[in-house]
């Protein structure tokens, strides 16, 4: 009995550092944000006032919040969807044997490796309608009659989505490519013997085999794109048209650091957290249900 108790204490001691880290780095900040969301608190003064659900009620009536939520949803859905389609397509191409494949595989990773600030500056230059290369080429090719104002109010979101897809698709490519390389070749050989065409092989072998990895990729990418701050902030930074891409994380930042409403900003962050948790649970449940059906 004493030995068992000693082992239990030892076990707790072994996991204690991990528990302390999780508590300090995850639970405390989340808990503090939730606590803050019930307060009317200035961003840099210690004075605070308990307002209960006051911040949440204000948010429910706040037109800017709903607008930001819609923009976040559009941005996350469009970028995740496009990354998925392009990423899977690129992974399939890079899985097939051809000369120079290794070099191309390395090159595909490039956008994911460069710092966001560099990517944003370069793309802002390229897409500038006055001196940018993209509009120049489109005009010369006769594809457009007037330069497209990528950084103006009408196309700000489109250009942001394009740049984000360019930057983050390599993550999907690498994840999918790694899984493709582990699919047994016998499955394809058997399908060929049965006369399955390329599309049928993709649909009935590749896609089901990719299910698990696509599940993780969709989950992670949609969470990351919904909460994406740096690319969105830098893309709209210094432009009045930046309000066209004022997503929820940007709005939460603004409320905290330009309106100085730390409580309100924290409430926005908590809402984001709860929405993502709920979406993740629903997503997991759907996945498990489908797994059961397949099984």
């Amino acid at each position: 009995m004493r030995v068992r108790a000693g082992a239990a204490v030892l076990g707790v001691l072994w996991i204690l550092p991990a528990l302390v880290l999780i508590g300090a780095l995850i639970l405390y900040p989340v808990g503090y944000a939730i606590w803050l969301s019930f307060l009317d608190k200035h961003s840099f003064f210690p004075a605070e006032r308990w307002v209960g659900l006051g911040n949440y009620l204000k948010i429910a009536r706040d037109v800017e919040f709903w607008d930001s939520l819609w923009k976040s949803a559009v941005y996350a859905a469009a970028t995740t969807g496009l990354q998925l389609v392009l990423g899977v397509a690129a992974a399939l191409v890079l899985h097939a044997p051809f000369r120079g494949r290794t070099a191309i595989r390395a090159l595909v990773l490039f956008p994911y490796m460069i710092p966001t600030i560099v990517a944003v500056i370069v793309w802002r230059w390229l897409l500038n309608e006055t001196y940018g290369v993209v509009d120049h080429l489109l005009l010369r090719a006769g594809l457009v009659r007037e330069p497209i104002v990528w950084l103006g109010v009408d196309h700000m979101m489109t250009s942001l989505i394009a740049v984000s897809v360019w930057q983050f698709t390599p993550f999907v490519v690498v994840s999918v490519l790694a899984r493709l390389q582990t699919i047994p070749l016998e499955l394809y050989e058997a399908a060929r013997v049965d006369g399955a065409a390329a599309w049928a092989r993709f649909r009935h072998i590749t896609l089901p085999q990719l299910r698990a990895v696509l599940f993780v990729v969709v989950l992670l990418r949609s969470i990351w794109m919904f909460t994406k701050f740096d690319t969105v902030w830098l893309w709209g930074e210094g432009a009045g048209a930046g309000r066209e891409i004022r997503t929820l994380p940007i709005y939460a930042y603004m409320r905290t650091f330009t309106y100085y409403q730390a409580g309100f900003g924290a409430a926005l962050a908590v809402i984001m957290f709860v929405m993502l948790m709920a979406a993740t649970l629903v997503y997991f449940r759907l996945y498990w249900r489908e797994e059961e059906v397949v099984a």
């Binding site: 009045g240 650091f257 409403q261």
Partner: protein, 442 residues
């Protein structure tokens, strides 16, 4: 043995360095003049100061103008502000009202009272104390290509309507492509805020009434939004995404014929990027700001960040002492000369100093300086969002600027929302903002 040697050496050096760091008072100053030659002058001044103050280490950091407020706020929220910093005048008042600043009457009093233009001395006063002293004043200016207007027989615009008409007439199209726009303006949020305050002033308008309630539904504001709609038709289609420097690039390389929100700093870009044979004030001339239908006088934005010293800063006194040193002519004149048409003197005596006038750029671009001084003398300049000097007693203009509500108002109108509706929406939002912060009773 070698390892032990390295260890001991590192330990000794570390101890020595740590001891040195403890003895020296590090003074961190954040400021908005980021051009390399200005930073070089400031660092040289710091080095000179340190020679006679061996226990003080001056660290000067340059911050982009548009980022300043956000970075200061983040630093304050983190409890780690610098010892002293530039700030917009409205930032200074906001911080002073919140009790974050140390009074700097000692710095202001180190300069003779009648040597300073009042506007620069009183840029940041709260409860009878001075909380900021402007480092160098400048006025926003309206720049136009004199040669291009002359070629088309156009007169310099005087009114808002003139500006739209002249801009339209100056636009040049070749093979179906616009090769030159008549006018360029930045869509940077800070500058839209500046533009709203400045244009409203030229239209005899205001942003707040005497009780501090926003007045965005008043006629001058509606007219202003109608003007923005007209401007939107003659400006480059992507102007809302154009940064301040983009507009100077447009002007200097001939892609635009007029620039509404220019500053003396722009001369450097013209000298650098415009064709050499036209990089002069005969081609890039300045004129009065245009006047709105309900206005009587022109108005411009005063660009003069006060030096603020933070109350809880450990090096607050040393920072003030260094700033006194900075304002001495032998240090101040090289600073002003680093961007000569933009960094003008807050001291009359320095302006009169022959050493100050002895500068080729000042000689060449004198008309640009004269235009700015005309606005100083006529009291036609006000800080961002200030349409009347009494507005400087409103400690919430910083929040209004940071919220982006006025920028949204302009963009709503530009995107097609009826001006009255855009103004009413902004009015509601500003009222909510001020009420939630306790500045306004609902």
């Amino acid at each position: 043995m070698i390892r032990r040697y390295i260890f001991v050496t590192a330990l000794v050096l570390g101890t020595v360095d740590a001891a040195g760091a403890v003895d020296k008072q590090v003074v961190r100053l954040w400021q908005t003049e980021t051009e390399p030659q200005t930073l070089a002058v400031l660092n040289q001044t710091a080095a000179e100061y340190e020679k006679t103050h061996p226990n003080v280490s001056i660290k000067i950091e340059g911050l982009a103008w548009g980022d300043l407020e956000r970075k200061l706020t983040a630093a304050l929220a983190a409890g780690a502000p610098p010892d002293a910093a530039h700030g917009q005048p409205i930032t200074c008042v906001s911080f002073a009202a919140k009790g974050l600043l140390r009074p700097v009457d000692d710095l202001a009093d180190s300069m003779p009272k009648n040597d300073l233009v009042d506007a620069f001395r009183n840029l940041c006063r709260w409860d009878g104390k001075t909380y900021g002293v402007g480092h160098s004043p400048a006025s926003s200016v309206f720049v136009y290509r004199k040669d291009l207007l002359a070629q088309k027989g156009l007169k310099v615009p005087r009114t808002w309507d003139d500006l739209v008409q002249v801009a339209d007439a100056l636009r040049e199209v070749k093979d179906g492509q616009v090769v030159r726009y008549g006018l360029t303006m930045t869509g940077q949020p800070l500058f839209i805020n500046i533009g709203v305050g400045e244009l409203l002033k030229t239209n005899g308008g205001r942003l707040f009434d005497a009780d501090g309630r926003p007045t965005l539904t008043e006629k001058p504001v509606i007219e202003l939004l109608e003007f923005y709609k007209k401007l939107n038709r003659v400006l480059p289609p992507g102007w809302t995404g154009h940064a301040y420097l983009d507009t100077f690039a447009n002007l200097a390389n001939g892609k635009a014929a007029m620039l509404y929100q220019a500053y003396g700093r722009g001369v450097g870009y013209i000298e650098k990027y415009a064709p050499k044979d036209i990089a002069d004030p005969e081609h890039f001339a300045v004129a009065d700001k245009v006047i709105g239908p309900s206005g009587k006088t022109p108005a411009a934005q005063l660009d003069c960040e006060p030096w603020m010293v933070f109350k809880d800063a450990q090096g607050a006194n040393e920072a003030v002492d260094f700033l006194k040193f900075f304002f001495k002519d032998e240090n101040y004149i090289p600073y002003l000369h680093s961007v000569p048409i933009h960094l003008l003197s807050i001291k009359k005596s320095t302006s009169r100093n022959p050493k100050y006038a002895d500068n080729a750029m000042i000689g060449k671009w004198r008309s640009w300086i004269d235009m700015q001084e005309k606005y100083f003398k006529n009291d036609w300049i006000k800080p961002v969002l200030v349409t009347d000097w009494d507005d400087m007693r409103k400690p919430y203009l910083l929040e209004v600027m940071g919220s982006g509500i006025l920028v949204d108002m302009v963009l709503d109108a530009v995107k097609g929302m009826p001006s009255a509706e855009a103004a009413a929406k902004a009015q509601r939002r500003v009222e909510e903002l001020l009420a939630s912060a306790g500045y306004l009773k609902k």
